[in-house]
């Protein structure tokens, strides 16, 4: 509670912000630490030395510039999926359909990438990316329709569209768009004009990462500095209030879904045009789900999505090195990730115990 007697509001303000930053920082540190401790225990129990393992993990993620660049590249799709999730969650739209939107976006980008010849790079690349964005965005429309018109919560329908999307793209690569020469189920290879340019010789890092970084700030700007973003956030905070203030609640829901799907589709387009070079069946092992987790880790803040994605990418990239050097299986990382997510969800821990303390204080004084 703030009361009149505060003498130097600015000082209090500073102290408060600083205090919150510090608590948040410690909070994340604690979560990270606990996650790693659980991983360490597991590694130790399996008869390996946790410290060497973690050192190798570290080296694998950041050990040299190549690895660092690969980690960054790896985070590209995670960032975009994380942003997609963040926009939806900020608007309180529980879009569980990220995975499907990713596949659809990727497929659209791939089709434009291999089937539209004769364009210069400068047109072909944006066209591919745009196709991904549009396809990913449009894929959310049936869900939004049910939500707006018939009041069906988006969760289950968006989940259903995941599988429809994944199976549909699988059908496309198995039948009409199959490349018989490919060593796996995939579309034909994209034309060179559709590939995102790389900028470090020998690394996969491409302008997709730069675009993703730009998108982080763009989405941040959009959500926090524009009036439409403001609408989305207010609707997310409290739809009743937004309605009574005269904001377009339904439009905001549709828009949040469109942007969310568009960003995720963008992610799909980036990984196809920047990395794989063709659409592969089941290329994603849960980038969409990872994106949701990243968004939650970042408390649905676009700026937080960046470090959280880097963290995820570093874990994944480092795990390869950890396994090849110390023999600790990569799957440990999966456990660490799961544990961290549990701690993040249980961030309420802090509030829970704080609440108990309060209760205790109340009862003891009263």
């Amino acid at each position: 509670m703030i009361n009149k007697k505060i003498a130097f509001p600015s000082m209090v303000h500073i102290r408060r912000i600083f205090g919150e930053v510090l608590t948040q920082f410690l909070n994340y540190l604690l979560i990270l630490f606990l996650g790693l401790v659980i991983g360490a225990i597991v590694i130790f129990l399996s008869g390996k030395d946790p410290l060497t393992a973690y050192a190798a993990l570290w080296k694998g993620a950041f050990g040299n510039w190549y690895k660092f660049a690969d980690t960054l590249d790896r985070s590209t799709v995670l960032i975009l999926c994380g942003l997609g999730a963040a926009v939806a969650f900020r608007t309180s739209v529980f879009n569980l359909g990220l995975e499907g939107q990713l596949y659809i976006g990727a497929m659209a980008a791939a089709i434009v990438g291999f089937a539209v010849p004769g364009l210069p790079k400068i047109i072909h690349i944006p066209l591919c990316l745009l196709a991904g964005i549009v396809a990913g965005g449009l894929w959310t429309l049936p869900v939004s329709y049910l939500r707006i018109r018939w009041n069906v919560p988006v969760m289950v329908p968006s989940l259903m569209l995941n599988y429809i999307g994944i199976l549909f793209t699988q059908y496309l690569v198995s039948f009409p768009l199959r490349d018989p020469d490919a060593g796996m189920a995939g579309t034909p290879v994209l034309l060179d004009t559709a590939r995102l340019p790389k900028f470090i010789q020998g690394s996969t890092i491409n302008i997709g990462f730069i675009i993703a970084i730009v998108m982080v700030f763009l989405v941040y700007w959009f959500m926090f500095k524009t009036k439409i973003g403001y609408e989305l956030r207010m609707v997310g905070y409290n739809p009743n209030f937004s309605a009574s203030a005269g904001m377009p609640v339904k439009r905001s829901t549709i828009l949040a879904m469109l942007i969310s799907g568009g960003l995720v589709g963008f992610g799909g387009a980036c990984i196809i045009t920047g990395f794989f070079g063709r659409f592969l069946a089941s290329f994603s092992v849960g980038y969409g789900w990872d994106g949701m987790m990243i968004s939650l880790l970042a408390q649905n803040n676009p700026l937080g999505v960046l470090p959280a994605s880097l963290f995820y990418a570093a874990l994944a990239n480092g795990a390869m090195t950890m396994q090849s050097q110390t023999g600790v299986p990569q799957t440990v990382v999966g456990m660490v990730k799961g544990a961290i997510m549990f701690f993040v969800t249980a961030q309420v821990f802090v509030t829970y115990f704080r609440g108990r303390m309060k209760k205790w204080k109340l009862t003891s004084t009263g």
């Binding site: 408060r16 912000i17 919150e20 930053v21 608590t23 948040q24 920082f25 410690l26 909070n27 994340y28 540190l29 190798a56 570290w58 080296k59 950041f62 050990g63 040299n64 510039w65 190549y66 690895k67 660092f68 690969d70 790896r74 699988q170 198995s174 018989p180 020469d181 490919a182 060593g183 796996m184 189920a185 290879v189 020998g202 690394s203 996969t204 990984i271 990395f275 794989f276 063709r278 592969l280 069946a281 089941s282 290329f283 092992v285 970042a298 408390q299 803040n301 700026l303 937080g304 470090p307 880097l310 963290f311 990239n317 795990a319 390869m320 090195t321 396994q323 090849s324 990569q330 799957t331």
Partner: protein, 360 residues
Amino acid sequence: MKRLSNVLGLLLLVAIVLSACAPTATPTAVVTEAPVVATEAPATAIPPTAVPPMIALVPAGRTGTEGFMFLAGEGYKKAAAEFGFKEIILESMVAEEWERNVRTASQDGANLVIAVGSTMQDAVKNVGVDFPNTKYVLVDSYIGGDNVQGLISQEQEGTFLAGVLAAQMTVLKDVENMNPDKVIGFIGGMDIPVIHRFLSGLQQGVAYIDPTIKIEVAYVGSFADPAKAKELALSMIENQKVDIVYSVAGSFGDAGVFEAVAEKGVYGIGTDVSWDEKVPGHVLISVLKHTDVAVYNAIKGYLNGEFKAGEVKYGLASGVMDITDMSVIGDLVPQAIKDSVFKAKQDIIDGKIAVNRPLR
């Protein structure tokens, strides 16, 4: 205020993490993993003065899960022990890591990268362009490149023999659960060229005995879906009177198929490694694919300075493709049939029988 502080907190954490990483990124840091400096005495194949080469194995999955990948690993390890280079095995969990691992090995300065699996073809192609001085060996596929050697096992030669055996077995009447219908089954992991080579050989082998025998073909759509593979096999056995199932569905998938085979009491033919002992009494024969030999030879060739870009074919003659001796199945397969299989094998080696390789 809360959200700003969240972000700042998270950023602060990352900043610290990154700053902590900085020293390891500088060259002065202790880097133990780079096997640039040899500690042990070089083995015979390497001239004493030369720096031992860096050779990495990058399977398109995990060596423990796939038969031919496992074998590739065995061949690699054998070569490593013999020629004295450090083992670097980069396994991948997800599709994204196929290329990442090939690249990581190349970035770390590997002289030779052995990529196992036809799914690796894009990866090798993409990375090979970026590292022209690194040599690549691609097991199971070849799609061009001056520094790429494709090890193409002549699977069709091996499966030809399986076809010869199956065609004669499927019409036997006195074998339990073997029906007189002229139908056998083929279950492939995916509809891709390497699997087509298996299928083509089987078809040619069957036709060599009896062109009227029908082969039911189905693809699981994945190399890691035992449930679906099993269900496909069950359906074939129950509905299409299939009594012999040839399975190339990956180790997961094969396990599923042979479960169905054992459950229904019919017969199967294994791939890559010997399944004869794993499902005794039900696997007639296994078509062996000694990737270990191919990989070992490739490494040896490289070390001897004989690396040649392009396709290298391994057939029955090289010993890479082979079949089990049918001793586990025992008398269930009449000696005459066994002999005909062995004879066909010799004929192929001698060039008396030509087995065609499909274009795709």
